[in-house]
């Protein structure tokens, strides 16, 4: 693995994977991934289909636990704690490390409830209306939905739904937001709006984004990690560095081939 991302102070370390392997049953999907994610930065995961980038992302908030056969080896350190240690409650981890999915998946409830529910179950005590408004504002959705908060979340367009999902994640006040190809189901205009939004969110949150779209990674991220899969179809980290560096001066031959479109 080639990594040049070592140069930030520990105070800026959001989460770190150390020698992480992920298995689905007997199949090893991810092999020996180690990387550090910087706070208040956007880190993009790119790579061809099946290279395990989504699996790595899901490992950061233990969403892989939902797959009955999934198993993680190695460590993921969050503020010095291994989130896979036996005494850690994954529910609490997911509250701090939120996630936005590939397909917009609002709850079949009102827009207001979509945003408020996460905060409510996490025993939020403050003014709920205020929280909903500020979350929607942060997600750049407030102006579009402020008059129809009691309508179903499904009444929104795809891009709006995805921003609603972001707003609902923000409402829980997480540290880190994981985004799993958040724009792949959206049209270019909506995609652009989400990208702008992500830039805004960087100020307050650490963002890790999986994307199929190399331009998006190049445009929108500060760091980029490139994954590939080996002959056993296990994904591994090929190269991880500053986005500019990776796209202009890739250290690894595979990276160069991938970003120039010769495979993937």
């Amino acid at each position: 693995m080639t990594s040049t991302v070592t140069g930030f102070a520990n105070g800026n370390l959001a989460v770190e994977a150390r020698n992480m392997h992920v298995y689905y049953g007997p199949f090893r999907a991810v092999k020996d991934v180690s990387l550090k994610i910087k706070t208040h930065a956007i880190t993009a995961f790119i790579g061809p289909s099946g290279c395990g980038k989504s699996t790595v992302l899901r490992s950061f908030n233990r969403m892989n636990d939902l797959v009955a056969t999934a198993r993680v080896e190695g460590e993921i350190l969050y503020h010095g704690n291994n989130i896979y240690s036996n005494d850690v409650d994954p529910v609490e981890i997911r509250r701090r490390i939120g996630m936005v999915f590939q397909k917009p998946n609002p709850f079949p409830k009102t827009i207001y409830e979509n945003v408020a529910w996460g905060a409510r179950i996490n025993s939020y005590k403050g003014d709920m209306d205020e929280l909903v408004e500020s979350s929607l504002r942060q997600a750049a959705l407030w102006n579009e939905v402020k008059d129809k908060l009691q309508e179903s979340g499904y009444s929104l367009s795809g891009g709006q739904q995805q921003r609603l999902c972001i707003a609902r994640t923000i409402a829980v006040k997480p540290d880190i937001i994981l985004m799993d190809e958040p724009t792949s189901a959206l049209d270019p205009v909506a995609t652009l709006r989400i990208e702008e939004l992500i830039q805004e969110l960087k100020k307050n949150y650490t963002i890790i984004i999986v994307t199929h779209n190399m331009q998006q990674a190049a445009r929108a991220s500060d760091f980029t990690a490139f994954y590939n899969m080996d002959e056993d179809r296990a994904g591994y980290l090929v190269e991880y560095s500053g986005t500019n560096e990776l796209f202009t001066n890739p250290k690894n031959e595979l990276t160069e081939q991938y970003i120039t479109g010769r495979f993937g």
Binding site: L66, V91, R94, G98, F101, I121
Partner: protein, 735 residues
């Protein structure tokens, strides 16, 4: 990398494409045909039920309300003050003639014989004349009848020819006797009846008088004293014309005459000064006799005073009623009359004339009688035992007892289980009237017809009723009425209702739902969301799938063994100190509800599992990614999304539970109970069991109410389903 598929060309291609199209059309046709067959079957079912549930019925009273009132009126007339009663009409004539304040009444014939001693009053300004009697403007009239049967006429030539002669010459004789001739229309009707019965091949309207000369044999004419002189004259005239048969005339009164005719079979022809009653007609029917009714004239009642009465020549019916009822002086009835006491002269209790008078002057409706009068009628017509039972159900008067012994009643009220009558307020007039109708008048459906017959063969039905049940009333009856729904079970179909069964069904279904819905959905959530894929869990799943197909009677056996027998202290309520442990044992609503709950539990589990499985995984991920626990996610998102599907499965399961009969029979549903269930520990019956039980009864009317109950069951089922569907749509819309 792939092989080139070679498709045929030209006509072979066309053949392939068209045969595919033909196969498609054939399948479509098959589906359409089976759908149509299904719809036809459904329509046939509904047709059958509707046909039974509505239709004409012939209702016949055991006792006519008018005869009940009549007896009461006569008693009152006879016991009134200032009244002279005598069996000897001459005595009455003499009495009236000598008393200026007297009033009385006679048959018109008798008045005519004594018209020199009496003064005839007009009634409502109309005097009894041939015309006013025939067109019934004169109010106080009664028809005179002969009764015979077609068999008598066919078998007894003498009787046949006697009646022919009678109908030919009656109008020449009857006015001489003092009665009024019947109208030509009525006479030709009577002649047509005779023609049909005697088998002469005559055109309608044609009348052939037969020469009586040389006819031998014998016949008997028995009955009314009123008609006796008419019969006598006809017989004499016949004999003069050469009729050689023996005519036995008996003057015994209408009632005795009809008894001889119907019950004893000693009369060929019965003479009556009133129509035959339903009881008498029934007696005839029992002996296979179908009486033919022939009106041969009309009698009128003459209201008379003394010739010395100078103040009136007319009396209205209202004045007449007052004079023979509340009046003590003439002025009480009409202020223009003098203030002299009324002297009433009436014939004795056995006289047909008294019946005639009471019936025509005091026509009263039972429903309008006072409560006291109704109680009196009830007292006179029911057994003391029944009266005592009714009185213990609800008293007639708050301050006294009618049937029961006060000491026994007090004893019954002091017992641990006092009768309802001890505490309930007394019955009101309406209640007593209903009781009288039910216990004494007892209208009985003697025959019922289907809706189709009622609509399209009404003439035949009417003709049938006219010959078979002339006293019965033919009405269109919907067996499905509000009364039917709100009345409790009864052993007479006319009064039976389904309230008890509806309540039973609702109670049982409620228990079933409260038991199986939470457990079923809970089990489904566990199996879908929590259970890991182990051997035990797979076995459980397989068993649930198999249990959904187990015959319901097996569940009945299970319920009997577990809930009724083993858990009896629980299901009878004895454990909680409630319920009637001695009678219900474990055969309670609770046992039935739990048994049906077990029966539908697998269905609910499977439906709920399917619905939960169909909730998109992304929804669970979304919930979990917000830091929600698994249960929070399931409760807030998975269940609401799955609810429409869960409810659909539950609705189907509940529909099945409502319609179940077999397991409930095994668990021990009561087939005949009169008490509404009021707790889970009550005895019960349900609608399907009630229907099953009614269809097994021999009386035809039970099949009509069974059909009505089926309609109730269908409506109950549809409305329960509809409300569940509404509920489901509410949830589906919210999503």
């Amino acid at each position: 990398m792939s092989q080139q598929t070679s498709y045929p060309e030209g006509s072979a291609l066309k053949g392939q494409i068209t045969s595919r199209q033909r196969r498609g059309s054939a399948w479509q046709l098959a589906f359409q045909v089976s759908t149509i067959i299904g719809i036809i079957a459904l329509i046939a079912l509904l047709y059958n039920i509707t046909n039974q549930a509505f239709g004409l019925v012939a209702i016949q009273n055991k006792v006519e309300p008018s005869s009940l009132v009549l007896a009461l009126e006569e008693e009152r007339l006879l016991s009134a003050e200032n009244t002279v009663t005598s069996e000897d009409d001459n005595e009455l004539v003499a009495g009236i003639a000598s008393d200026a304040n007297a009033i009385g009444f006679f048959g018109y014939a008798y008045y005519q014989q004594n018209s020199d001693q009496l003064k005839l009053l007009t009634v409502d300004g109309i005097a009894p004349t041939a015309e006013s009697v025939q067109n019934e403007t004169y109010g106080l009239v009664r028809p005179l009848y002969l009764y015979t049967t077609a068999d008598v006429l066919a078998q007894n030539q003498a009787a046949n020819i006697f009646l022919n002669y009678y109908l030919t010459h009656i109008n020449e004789e009857i006015e001489d006797v003092g009665y009024f001739a019947t109208s030509d229309a009525q006479l030709s009707e009577a002649r047509a009846a005779w023609t049909a019965a005697s088998g002469l091949n005559l055109q309608p309207g044609q009348w052939a008088a037969i020469n009586p000369e040389g006819i031998t044999g014998q016949l008997s004419v028995v009955g009314s004293s009123t008609l006796f002189p008419v019969n006598e004259r006809i017989a004499e005239r016949l004999a003069a014309d050469g009729f050689a048969a023996t005519v036995n005339l008996a003057n015994v009164g209408s009632t005795a005459g009809l008894r001889a005719f119907c019950e004893e079979g000693t009369a060929d022809i019965a003479a009556a000064s009133r129509p035959i009653t339903s009881a008498e007609f029934e007696a005839c029917r029992e002996n296979d006799l179908r009486p033919i009714e022939i009106q041969i004239g009309t009698d009128a009642l003459a209201i008379v005073t003394s010739p010395e009465n100078s103040f009136t020549t007319n009396v209205t019916q209202q004045e007449l009623r007052t004079l023979f009822d509340t009046a003590t002086t003439w002025a009480d009835a009409n202020e223009a009359w003098p203030n002299n006491p009324v002297a009433r002269y009436i014939p004795g209790a056995d006289s047909g004339t008294l019946d005639f008078f009471a019936e025509t002057v005091f026509p009263k409706d039972l429903a309008n009688l006072s409560k006291e009068t109704l109680v009196e009628l009830l007292t006179a017509n029911i057994s003391v035992g029944l009266g005592r039972r009714l009185e213990r159900e609800q008293r007639f008067y708050d301050d006294r007892l009618v049937f029961d012994d006060p000491d026994l009643f007090a004893e019954a009220c002091a017992s641990d289980n006092p009768a309802a009558g001890c505490t309930m307020p007394a019955r009101d007039q309406e209640n007593v009237y209903e009781l009288l109708l039910q216990e004494v008048v007892a209208p009985d459906v003697v025959s019922a017809w289907s809706l189709m017959d009622s609509l399209f063969a009404r003439d035949e039905v009417e003709a049938f009723v006219a010959t078979e049940y002339p006293n019965a009333e033919l009405t269109f009856r919907s067996w499905l009425t509000l009364d039917f729904i709100t009345s409790p079970q009864s052993s007479t179909p006319e009064f039976a209702g389904v309230r008890t069964a509806i309540m039973g069904s609702l109670w049982v279904v409620a228990i079933t739902v409260f038991f199986s819905f939470p457990i079923g959905v809970g089990a489904a959530i566990y199996l879908e969301e929590y259970a890991s894929d182990t051997f035990i869990n797979r076995t459980i799943q397989t068993n649930i799938n198999n249990l959904a197909g187990v015959p319901s009677i097996i569940y009945g056996m299970l319920g009997l063994a577990i809930f009724v027998r083993t858990l009896e202290p629980l299901t009878s309520g004895a454990l909680f100190g409630v319920g009637d442990g001695t009678t219900a044992n474990g055969r309670t609503i609770l046992s039935a509800g739990l048994t049906l709950g077990l029966l539908i539990l697998p269905v609910i589990i499977i439906a709920a599992q399917e619905a939960i499985r169909a909730v998109p995984h992304s929804l669970r991920q979304a919930g979990m990614a917000l830091g929600a626990t698994k249960w929070q996610t399931i409760w807030a998102h998975v269940l609401p999304s799955a609810l429409p599907g869960i409810l659909t499965g539950t609705i189907l399961a509940i529909s099945r539970a409502i319609g179940e009969t077999a397991p409930l029979v095994v668990v021990g549903a009561s087939t005949l109970i009169f008490v509404d269930p009021n707790s889970p520990f009550s005895k019960f019956t349900t609608l399907p069991i009630q229907i099953y039980q009614w269809t097994a009864r021999p009386q035809a009317e039970f099949r009509n109410i069974a059909a009505a109950a089926i309609l109730v069951l269908l409506v109950l089922l549809l409305s329960l389903n509809a409300s569940a569907i509404l509920l489901r749509n509410r949830y589906a819309r919210r999503a």
